[in-house]
Amino acid sequence: MHSFGYRANALLTFAVTILALMCAMASISDNFNHPSPSAHVEVLNINWFQKQSKGNDEVSMQLNISADLQSLFTWNTKQVFVFVAAEYETPKNSLNQISLWDGIIPSREHAKFWIHTSNKYHFIDQGSNLRGKEFNLTLHWHVMPKTGKMFADKIVMSGYRLPEEYR
């Protein structure tokens, strides 16, 4: 503490150490938030359902996605990444996940939304397993904090059965 430089150095070191501590506490405080998000995804219509020339099944559908993710936001939340996946079982793989739609929610004000869309990403099976296949629609989310630990969770929703014939 005998010179200007020494004092400046000590202050800066201590200040940054405390800042790191505050960030850690902010991350810990996220654990006290118990979110209760709700979501509903509905398949309105199958636009078309076909077999590609390579032999893979491909579906295009109309989706109606509504969700209330406001409770996921805390003071330490930067944004929330959310995606809707179709999940189903095939003889070869016990779990197949195909992302149909995704979005980034930048703030609590945008966390209650309703969207009517066709699937943003192709719903293609690696094979020819989709005829008459029943799949679950799952809403996954990743909470990205300003500092600290990332959280991820999902809601599994009632499924939908694809038609037996291509159309």
Partner: protein
Amino acid sequence: MDWQGQKLAEQLMQILLLAFAVVAFATGYISGSFQMMVLIYAVGVVLTTLVTVPNWPFFNRHPLKWLDPSEAEKHPKPQEAVSAKKKPAKNSSTPTQEAS
């Protein structure tokens, strides 16, 4: 800055920073604004810097009281034995310097 001033500066720095950190965290958490927390803490760091880093007069209120030079003359250091041992060493080095 004198000894007491240095101690005061260090303690002030630690107490002020901790106090600002507590206030900033509480305000940020209650108002639900991370930005608010960082802002209050940044202001706190700047204020603490202004208070504790420059050499303010109030850090110099306990100057060291040095003895008067006349005291040293009254009590001269007993250096005779030390200088007597050093002199032979100096003498041994001088011939080599003369040779070169």
